[in-house]
């Protein structure tokens, strides 16, 4: 029988063809193919591409086809990446489609929206890699954790003075302050995460407490409430009186910012360089000891799991949290009715003499490397400016964020009492500190406070360790 042998030439040709095919498969995917749209008649008003019917909120997340962008018909292309997915990405794509098909055509700008896909190393690694490679977005949508670190390395370009004035005039002062670098307002604040104290009315009534008529007014009262609200049966904790932001440095840090400020000092003193974290002050120690006391009482949820699970499964009664987490994470993920169960309080100081809360925001920022800064600001102005305040509307209606635009309404679906409490909370707020190394500070606080509430260390030891680590972290962050 004749055996056909593969010649080297054919093998090499085959390998070459395979290599080409592999390279083609690995090449960047082309822009999403737009849905075939009917060609507009001359003179007719352009209309957005037909969109699949999507509901803004779903009880159970299900895969949703990505909404097609309107076709690119020319103009300056701007890249914007956001981290939202599913229906939320589609809701934002609708806004972008509206811009591209109306104002964008007039401005000769086309905004390409991409879902930000962070690799295993997380968003910051992606930001760094893209920036170094020159493939970064034109417009950043950035969490405050990295704002100062990136701003200090020249990642962003400040807006023209008239936009800075506009932002200053229309946004909450504290939200604006968290986006200032070297005296310049760097971008539009968005996604405001203001903390409130949520108390589950049903649980309170079960143990004879009434948060509507006589809510806790001091931290000692709150501690007593937490003790009463904790439910232990047969040695098993069925409910924690106080929800601990277990393993979540960001939330623990924000909580500290509010608690320190309510008691008369900033958690991070930014008047000195490097900034100083006030963990070893009298107030800092008092808060550390307060957590430890709650842990000793057995009132904290640290041994029940992470806060969203604890809260979502009604395993915790008192929760210092922000509205987005309470509304979006729980209501949209199959916990209807949880908002109605709450009585909302404005956060209060240890002795009850001061009330208020914080602002904490993402920001829309323009890359220092963009070739089209004017176009970026033009688009952002359309997205953020009044009277529509499209971005604020999107944030409020879809996610349940409280406004950072002055005087903008609170989400319609908030119960009346919750609205009332938030209205008061937003009248008196403190900003997040603008410091380099913030993400590291989050982790230091988390690691040490988690050890504290699990009673692995005593308050004095925890304070000493945190103080030392904060100092070292800030020293290094400001020396580079």
């Amino acid at each position: 029988m004749e055996v056909r042998r593969l010649s080297r030439r054919r093998l090499l040709a085959g390998l070459g063809a395979t290599a080409v095919a592999v390279l083609a498969a690995c090449a960047p995917s082309p822009a999403p193919t737009p849905a075939p749209a009917e060609q507009p008649k001359p003179g007719a008003t352009p209309t957005p591409a037909p969109a699949p019917e999507v509901k803004p909120l779903l009880a159970t997340p299900t895969p949703v086809p990505t909404l097609a962008p309107v076709p690119y018909k020319g103009g300056t292309k701007l890249l914007l990446r956001v981290h939202w997915s599913g229906v939320y990405f589609n809701d934002f794509q609708k806004i972008i489609n509206e811009y591209n098909s109306t104002q964008g055509e007039k401005d000769k700008i086309y905004v390409e929206l991409q879902r930000f896909v962070a690799g295993q190393a997380g968003p910051i690694a992606t930001f760094i890699a893209d920036f170094q490679a020159g493939t970064q977005e034109d417009i950043y949508h950035l969490n405050d954790a990295y704002f100062a670190d990136l701003a200090s390395r020249g990642f962003f370009r400040p807006p023209p003075p008239e936009i800075q004035s506009y932002i200053k005039e229309n946004w909450l002062e504290t939200a604006v302050r968290a986006g200032i670098w070297e005296g310049k307002i760097m971008g539009y604040p968005t996604e405001n995460q203001t903390m409130a104290v949520f108390i589950n009315k049903k649980m309170a009534q079960e143990v004879g407490l009434d948060p509507e008529k006589s809510p806790p007014r001091t931290w000692e009262e709150q501690r007593e409430w937490a003790k009463k609200l904790t439910k232990i049966e047969g040695g098993k904790k069925l409910r924690a009186g106080f929800v601990w932001h277990d393993a979540n440095g960001e939330r623990q840090f924000v909580q500290r910012v509010v608690m320190h400020w309510l008691n008369g000092e900033d958690f991070v003193d930014t008047s000195v360089t490097p900034p100083k974290v006030n963990i070893a002050t009298d107030i800092g120690r008092m808060i550390t000891e307060y957590w430890y006391k709650l842990a000793e009482d057995g009132s904290l949820s640290a041994d029940l799991g992470q806060a969203p699970q604890v809260w979502g499964n009604r395993l915790g009664a008192i929760n210092w949290h922000e509205s987005f987490a309470v509304y979006f994470v729980l209501v949209t993920q199959g916990q209807p009715g949880i908002l109605e169960e709450q009585h909302t309080l404005v956060p209060f100081s240890a002795d009850g003499s001061k009330r208020g809360s914080n602002t904490r925001n993402y920001h829309f920022l323009v890359s220092a490397k963009t070739k089209y800064p004017d176009e970026c600001w033009k688009f952002l102005r359309w997205l953020n400016d009044g009277p529509e305040f499209r971005m604020q509307k999107f944030q409020t209606d879809v996610f349940g964020f409280v406004p950072s635009v002055k005087g903008y309404k609170l989400p319609d679906f908030f119960p009346a009492q919750m609205k009332e409490a938030y209205k008061k909370a937003l009248e008196n707020t403190t900003p997040m500190p603008v410091v380099r190394g913030l993400a590291q500070l989050y982790n230091i606080l988390r690691d040490n406070q988690d050890a504290l509430v699990l009673k692995k260390v005593k308050p004095a030891e925890a304070v000493q360790k945190m103080d030392q680590e904060f100092k070292q972290a800030l020293k290094e962050a400001y020396s580079s």
Binding site: D246, A247, N443, D450
Partner: protein, 319 residues
């Protein structure tokens, strides 16, 4: 046979002459060139994507660089990063966590893997079914498996505690407590990867000639004697090889810990790669993170060389 090619308007070129000039006039030389050209592609890939970054990482570890500025701004600081991590308590602690994880995962994966492989190898029926069942977790995505275990290990409503309570045993805090967190992660990786080691051990076990077992049986050897005097000496080379790949893989653990605990609670599961990640991407001390990676590389290299030496002493050069 000389083959001629006649370029337009030029003199014919004798390929044989060209090959002679290039030293490729023999068949073996041409075959060698062909072989090197094929292997060269792989080496080139390794050079660019493996060795290149390794050398770059070592170079960066001798500088101070935050990865946010251009690399041209990196400042040469010699061994300062190494000096820092040498005295850094957190790094030393992460090495200890790494060792704890590696030892526990090794014992679980290799011990259980060998035991189950011996059992499966002795099955007269259902061997294929047993292999499929034990190997199926290996094909699951690691991140999905890790998330699944986080849910199963929830101290309040997780299935594991439900089972423990049903059996009248006290519930565990699993990932929530520094004393149990590492063991919980190890439990997951044992479940996930034991099937992989079973397959490797089964392959080794099936190379042992049946005649040896028959002879041992006739001589009246019991199960332990059969294992110790026949099975073990014959699978030892495979055992050592499997041990090396297990230790190399476990010493660089990142994903299960990153997903399940993030290094917590209270840093109880912070292994070297998790600390390296945080140092690079949270603290922006990119060059220091590179130094940590280099130290881990040399530790794993030393362990590997040690194992190879043990293997050679045991007369198992073939691996």
């Amino acid at each position: 046979m000389a083959v001629e090619a006649r370029p337009a308007g030029g003199r014919p070129v004798h390929r044989t002459g060209l090959r002679r000039r290039l030293g490729l006039h023999t068949l073996s030389a041409r075959e060698a060139l062909f072989g090197y050209s094929i292997v060269g592609v792989v080496y080139l890939f390794f050079l660019i994507f493996v060795f290149g970054p390794m050398f770059l990482a070592f170079g960066v570890s001798l500088t101070w660089w935050d990865a946010l500025s251009p690399i041209s701004q990196a400042e040469f600081i010699g061994l300062e990063n190494y000096r820092y991590i040498f005295f850094d308590e957190r790094f030393r602690l992460s090495l200890l966590h790494d060792a704890e994880y590696t030892v526990k995962a090794y014992v679980g994966q290799i011990g259980l893997g060998l035991l189950l492989a011996l059992l499966i190898n002795n099955l007269r029926r259902w061997q294929t079914v047993a292999r499929i069942i034990t190997f199926s977790p290996v094909v699951l995505p690691l991140v999905a498996t890790a998330i699944l275990f986080v849910i199963l290990m929830n101290p309040t409503w997780g299935l594991f505690n439900v089972i423990l309570r049903a059996l009248g045993l006290p519930p565990s805090t699993w990932l929530q407590d520094p004393t149990t967190a590492m063991n919980s992660v190890v439990l997951m990786v044992i479940w996930k990867y034991v099937g992989y080691y079973i397959v490797l051990f089964l392959a080794a076990l099936q190379t042992v000639p049946q005649e040896y077992y028959d002879a041992a049986h006739i001589d009246g050897a019991g199960p332990w004697q059969t294992f110790w005097h026949i099975t073990w000496p014959l699978i030892r080379p495979a055992f050592l090889f499997i041990s090396i790949i297990n230790i190399i893989a476990n010493a660089q653990v990142f994903t299960p810990i990153f997903v399940m605990t993030g290094g917590g609670p209270a840093r109880a599961t912070e292994v070297v790669v998790v600390l390296t990640y945080n140092t690079a991407f949270t603290n922006f001390q990119y060059s220091r993170a590179n130094a940590m990676a280099v130290v881990l590389f040399f530790i794993i290299l030393a362990l590997t060389l040690l194992q190879l030496r043990i293997m050679r002493r045991g007369g198992v050069e073939s691996y």
